[in-house]
Amino acid sequence: MTREETLNELKKVIAPYTVNKEMLAGINDQTDLIRDLKINSANLVDIIIDAEAKYDIEIDYDSADRMTNVGSCLDVITEKINQK
């Protein structure tokens, strides 16, 4: 899976948790989940759980802690897919 394909899937994971659909369409590595997409912090665990299910991966504590912006989410997901 290319980074762009992973990004497109990640947009689907994030979509239920943001009302900022315009910004979601144009997200990049620097997009912050809370500050830019206005995702409530209480939904961050939902995103991690949904990403685990979407990509059939397991995201450990330390990796989950890094998932604060789109770039770091893609890094973690790619890392976990490659470890399978």
Binding site: N20, N40, S41, A42, V45, D46, I49, Y61, D65
Partner: protein, 215 residues
């Protein structure tokens, strides 16, 4: 600078079934905290409320600590609730005040690295609201909780600022107060455009907003 942190979770907005799933709650609480629930709270507090109590306490600790160390990353598993005492009576009937009646709130001790913090949590049918402080004495902590009409993030942000400023204006009459954010996104209070040493913590979730600060 003495700091507090707070967080609010709207119980109508949480997914109860998902919260009870092991792969979900294990990202919020440790095995030791799960044992704390099983041994002391399983007969009096629904499990999903314990999980969100833990979340709100941990998020509050993070907000408190981030002000001192802005590079911190929120890591629930590294913030450990070592003690928790249940209230002996029902929750408070007022949603804004100074300090807490210890008999009507959950009282916790939280370890975060070398730091020990103390928490107070109010649970109602609608929300879970927590405040943490480095001191076990909350007499100088001002706090407030309010229901708002909108769930839009910008509206929540405006509403919680207006709410907190109303209290601040009673404490600093005549001052031109504003709430802004510093470079690390921590809220700060400005008096005549200059930051004052009163760190404030703001929270919102769904239809609920809350604040805390220490005077």
């Amino acid at each position: 600078m003495i700091s507090t942190g707070n967080d609010i979770v709207a119980l109508k907005a949480i997914n109860v079934a998902r919260t009870k799933q092991q792969n979900f709650y294990s990202k919020i609480i440790t095995d030791t905290e799960k044992a704390l629930y099983d041994e002391q709270f399983s007969d009096r507090l629904p499990f999903e409320q314990f999980i969100w109590l833990a979340w709100s306490v941990k998020e509050s600790v993070f907000k408190c600590a981030q002000r001192i160390n802005p590079e911190l990353v929120f890591s629930p598993s590294k913030i450990k609730i070592s003690k928790l005492a249940a209230p002996s009576e029902g929750g408070p009937s007022y949603f804004e005040g100074r300090g807490f009646n210890n008999t009507s709130v959950y009282r916790g001790v939280v370890e975060y690295g070398p730091d020990i913090l103390h928490s107070r949590t109010i649970i109602t049918d609608d929300f879970i609201f927590s405040v943490v402080s480095h001191a076990d004495n909350f007499e100088k902590v001002m706090w407030g909780i309010k229901k708002i009409d909108s769930t839009d993030a910008d509206d929540q942000s405006k509403a919680v600022r207006t709410f907190a400023l109303a209290m601040l204006n009673t404490l600093f009459p005549g001052a031109e107060l504003e709430i802004d954010k510093n470079n690390y996104s921590c809220p700060i209070i400005l008096k005549n455009e200059v930051e004052i040493p009163v760190p404030i913590s703001l929270a919102h979730h769904d239809h609920w907003v809350g604040y805390s600060f220490q005077v």
